[in-house]
């Protein structure tokens, strides 16, 4: 793959988002067809791009409209981009495949797919762009479409959650815009590579820290770190299940974690060596998220709400990985982006499958589903084992790397806490297994039918990938996650890679 294909990551979903309304007038099923074809094409592009990157490990650059880096928008494709794009498009395709039958009890099929493709366009755009204002535009594209998707059911809960999500999310988006305005006032350029070179000359003045803090507030809202999390436990359960899978699986990580780490490490050149207080702050927020999210998840009775609180807790793991700031910590954080995207995407799809079959998400009303829905039950069980960090699944290795990072940074209490709270994770995830799927043999099994073939295929696909990522962690680590962590660790070296000077 050469660099000319980079715009396709945005063009394909964007074009399909506008083709869907046109063609679905001819035949409503065109919406499914176009969306799934586009999803498959995106996954193919991501895999192809990653393989290409493994072969010659060179940063790919595309200059939009032929303008030079400092003037126009540059698209930039390195190992970190490849990793995030793989996560986004895998979960995206699984969710699209799942939607085909899941949408049977919704109206407005083409509106759903059109909005979904716009979210994908925004996520891919945020990941691939090398221009900070362009990043803001893509953040807003995906965010605005996601507000509409959260409120898609247009019932009491969905509307309340959608409005709450929208107000809080937009305050976060405006904070990012304010930070970009301040950054432009200082640096007089928008290209991230050039900005990083200009900012390197200014030193860490109070204004510099104000800009960093404003960015941090914006991204904190988008990633729902405690105490900026109030919208997530309402918004993610209210969305249709495939949207929850996309939002919890990749949305909060791309808009929050990826964008934040790109800006902090590569644009501002921050590292544990030169900004220890900031990294300690990330650690504090991470620990707070793990504890608050984990404990609140234990108290939930709603299947999807439990998973949503679990997402907050798992974001905390990614944050402490980044906050530790050494090689293993960042490797653990990035590996957890992959593991959690696959695992949480899978769990939300099983929630959709249960809701599709039984019409309820209340764990007290569900029992013995394993009898009638074996595929869903076993997908849930294995997916939750992965998230909780049971070997040999993917989640085990991400937590192991984070703990190795904490130990090598001599933060022993953090390693203990991370290990301790993975048992809490196991506790609340097994609660669902116990109540809905395998336990409570004395109760009558809830009447249900196994999910249709396409939904089961989407779940099995994610399950196979979760297991494969765990068993084959070594090549993934060597080829993808390790080099991606080095992209962040090289800090301002990013600019040299992009500008060639």
């Amino acid at each position: 793959m050469d660099a000319r294909f980079l715009p396709l990551f945005v063009v394909v979903p964007m074009a399909s988002a506008f083709l869907i309304p046109l063609f679905s007038r001819l035949w409503p099923r065109f919406a499914d067809l176009i969306a799934n074809a586009a999803g498959a094409a995106l996954l193919g592009l991501s895999v192809n791009g990653a393989l290409c990157l493994f072969a010659n490990s060179q940063v790919l650059l595309y200059h939009m409209g032929g303008w030079a880096s400092a003037l126009g928008i540059t698209l930039e494709y390195d190992h970190l981009t490849a990793l995030v794009l793989l996560a986004v498009n895998t979960v995206g395709l699984a969710a699209l495949l799942f939607s085909v039958r899941y949408l049977d009890h919704y109206t407005g099929r083409w509106k759903f797919f059109s909005l979904f493709m716009l979210v994908l366009a925004g996520l891919n755009g945020v990941t691939i762009t090398g221009d900070i204002f362009n990043m803001f535009v893509f953040i807003e594209i995906s965010a605005v479409s996601s507000y509409a998707l959260v409120a898609f059911g247009t019932d009491f809960d969905e509307l309340e959650a959608g409005f709450k999500y929208m107000v809080i999310g937009e305050i976060g988006g405006t904070a990012i815009l304010l930070a970009i305005a301040l950054l432009y006032a200082k640096a007089s350029t928008l290209n991230m590579a050039v900005v990083s070179q200009v900012m390197a000359g200014f030193g860490h003045t109070p204004l510099f820290w104000f800009i960093v803090a404003t960015f941090l507030v914006g991204f904190a809202v988008k990633m729902a770190m405690v105490p900026f999390h109030a919208w997530l436990p309402d918004a993610h359960p209210s969305a249709p299940a495939p949207v929850s899978a996309l939002l919890s699986g990749v949305f909060i990580k791309v808009l929050g974690v990826y964008a934040m780490s790109r800006v902090m490490f590569n644009v501002f050149g921050l590292s544990r060596a030169n900004a220890a207080p900031l990294f300690n702050l990330l650690l504090a927020f991470g620990v707070l998220s793990i504890i608050a999210g984990g404990l609140l998840a234990c108290a939930q009775k709603d299947y999807k709400r439990l998973l949503a609180y679990s997402s907050i807790s798992q974001i905390g793991y990614i944050l402490i990985g980044l906050g530790i700031g050494n090689y293993w910590g960042i490797v653990g954080a990035l590996f957890h982006i992959l593991a959690h995207a696959l695992g949480k995407g899978l769990l939300f799809l099983t929630a959709g499958s249960v809701e599709h079959a039984t019409g309820t998400r209340d764990l007290d009303k569900l029992s013995g589903l394993e009898k009638n829905m074996p595929v869903t039950a076993w997908s849930y069980l294995l997916g939750s084992l992965s998230l909780a960090g049971v070997p040999p699944f993917a989640g085990f290795f991400s937590k192991l790397f984070i703990i190795i990072g904490a130990l090598s940074a001599k933060m022993y209490w953090l390693a203990v806490l991370a290990a301790l709270f993975s048992t809490v994770t196991l506790g609340y995830l097994v609660k669902v297994v116990n109540k809905a799927f395998f336990g409570r043999k004395d109760l009558e099994p809830t009447p249900a039918r196994e999910a249709p073939a396409s939904m089961a295929l989407a779940m099995l696909g994610l399950l196979v990938l979760t297991v494969a990522l765990g068993i084959g962690f070594k090549p993934v680590l060597d080829k993808l996650v390790g080099p991606a962590a080095n992209v962040l660790l090289q800090g301002l070296g990013y600019a040299q890679g992009v500008l060639g000077r």
Binding site: F133, V137, E140, V144, Y147, A148, A151, T154, D155, F156, D157, L159, E160, A161, G162, F163, M166, V167, E170, I171, G173, T174, L177, L178, I180, A181, Y184, A185, S188, L190, P233, D234, S238, A299, Q300, K301, D302, R305
Partner: protein, 113 residues
């Protein structure tokens, strides 16, 4: 410089409305104020006293006196995004009113825990 601080005051007024007000429409107006404050701030970043439009008509003219056109272009984009978000917020507000028959956020509280 004073104008920039005025922007920050406007931003705080908007944030106050978003956080304190109970009526959904007032929250949306507060949000619009926040947005205008940031847009105005961004436009001011490119402002110059006695500046001239950034169109080259005479090469001999002092180049240093042009206002910076980039923030203006960016603010235009931000305004369009703001239009989309405000429209969607109002659409949600209408649907909420149809369901709940009220604009009071303290009465729209079914989700908790």
């Amino acid at each position: 410089m004073i104008a920039m601080f005025a922007c920050m005051v406007l931003l705080l007024v908007g944030l106050y409305a978003v956080v304190i007000k109970r009526n959904i429409i007032r929250i949306i107006i507060g949000f619009s104020l926040v947005e205008y404050a940031v847009n105005l701030f961004f436009a001011l970043v490119g402002f110059k006293h006695n500046g001239i439009p950034p169109i080259i008509t005479d090469v001999a003219q002092s180049r240093s006196n042009f206002v910076d056109p980039v923030p203006q272009a960016l603010v235009l984009t931000a305004i369009v995004i703001g239009l989309a978000t405000t429209a969607l917020m109002l659409a949600l507000a209408m649907r909420i009113y149809e369901k709940y028959r009220t604009f009071d956020v303290t009465e729209i509280r079914r989700l908790k825990g």
